[in-house]
Symmetry: C2
Subunit: 346 residues, 2 copies
Amino acid sequence: MAKKLLRVLSGEPLWPPPAWLMRQAGRYLPEYRELRARAGSFLGLCTNPDLAMEVTLQPIRRFGFDAAILFSDILLLPWALGQGLDYVEGRGPVLPPLATPADLARLDPARAAAKLGPVLETVHRVRGALEEETLIGFAGAPFTVACYMVEGGGSRTWEKVRAMAWSQPALFGALIDLLVDQTIAWLAAQIEAGAEAVMLFDSWAGILAPDLFRAHVIEPTARIVAALRARYPEVPIIGFPRKSGLLMLEYVSRTGVQGVGMDTSIDAALAARKIAPKVALQGNLDPQLLVEGGPRMAHAVARLLSEVRGHPFIFNLGHGVVPETPVENITALLAQVRAEEARAAG
Amino acid sequence: MAKKLLRVLSGEPLWPPPAWLMRQAGRYLPEYRELRARAGSFLGLCTNPDLAMEVTLQPIRRFGFDAAILFSDILLLPWALGQGLDYVEGRGPVLPPLATPADLARLDPARAAAKLGPVLETVHRVRGALEEETLIGFAGAPFTVACYMVEGGGSRTWEKVRAMAWSQPALFGALIDLLVDQTIAWLAAQIEAGAEAVMLFDSWAGILAPDLFRAHVIEPTARIVAALRARYPEVPIIGFPRKSGLLMLEYVSRTGVQGVGMDTSIDAALAARKIAPKVALQGNLDPQLLVEGGPRMAHAVARLLSEVRGHPFIFNLGHGVVPETPVENITALLAQVRAEEARAAG
């Protein structure tokens, strides 16, 4: 019998729903902080199979989530392609900005596989260590990865990447095309190594005007989904076009994803009405409610569950777990979700 | 005969549509930079009627927009209420964070009117200097102003304000209530001084979970609209719930605004289909296209105009003019909008 998460992603409205949390491996966990302090650089942690496996499994052991997500980072792909990458405390990732065709030409896909080998070893080992839990592989979606590559890191306004998309469409299109091909290869390699589902994080999809959203979010995602589904029809794909608002419905209907992550701002009741019942919904409790805990969290969880009941659903947050989260609130959250009365599809 | 902008805000689909741009007075203009260099602090500029009037009128003289928007800042209200405010180069506004009931109790509405007097003098003088153009007053919406007050400035994650909204609902609700009352008073004073329409900027509305959006965006906006419409039925109100995505439609139908600003990510064709024709749409060209100019801008402008034709519409950007914008692109933009063939409502 298939694992719970995979059943939901094949369209079955399991109840109680399976649950995992974005950034469930991370700084809020004392065992993560302890290991992180020993590990040296963040990049070193991501590329050390012993440590990355341990970090991936820590929240599974402690809480018994229904899915483990590979401990990695969306910027490992540009790093593997040869763009420099450094994580600076208090500032986040820093890369030499990609600004010219020469910068693009210097990227070297031939080197990527070797550099990413240790991460695939992590995938392989984690899969071997899991029983009931589903292993989720992931990548940044091409547009969001391009955001960091062009800006040289995070940004409040993302002006450089939008300027390139409008003003240098050939260069930006070539970058997106390269990332589509490399993302397909990278996710295929994760699947070959043992990932049972994959998720595409498009964290900055919401900054785009609709024309650019269609060209650089929907279309590339549709190509990735089509290529992976042709080779691995049994491996579902979860898209996460964060903050895409009114365009989320078009994204779901045109990309062919099997599941869609809802960010915190999405009205889950509306999504459950508007999104086809064959597409699973995932999300979207406000991570700040997990910091708060207690009756306010319980009320919001109950409300969310009532809104999506009957729709294939994976319980999650609308954004990653924040470092201030008390671990006991996660225990209480999972207990509440699992105390939902089992029943047939609604 | 009423001014063009007011006709559109009363539901008339004028064509060609009136046009103005968010942040049309600003650093992209050489005459602004020259005056700004002489003015001392930004706060000093906002509270000097001679200089603020000059800055407000600069883009009207140069381009002939259909509306002038008061040169001011959404944080003048908390400043007038007694919260400290400083504008730090490269960092933006900095305020002592509001964290406790005592911080809230220290705010002093009785002082606000006197401190804001010079701004009302600017409104009065600008109105006297305008002929065809509509004078738009504005304020930050309560939630967005509260964001800055609680965080002590801008933020990428806005965790403190969301934490307060969930965890200290009495304190946060009292802050919102205070801001509702003060915003009504502040906008009423602007109307008394000569503002012919007002706009409520809710720049951070999109960060909220739906329950908080309803409580702290929709409900306070509805109260402000109701209070102002009761006193000034002829003065229309434009709401701008930026990045509110799927919840924008609910915002429009429940707040009673006469116009709604569309951020850059909104599909204008979809908005024109979904939003009642009595509510004017305003927006939403990507400001980066105004930096680019040329045929790409022209194509996008033509597309936007065709998508909203027949709906009451005010041409604008989806976000403010950026400093890198060449002034000649604005001239070309206005020429294109005004070359649209006049015709009756579609």
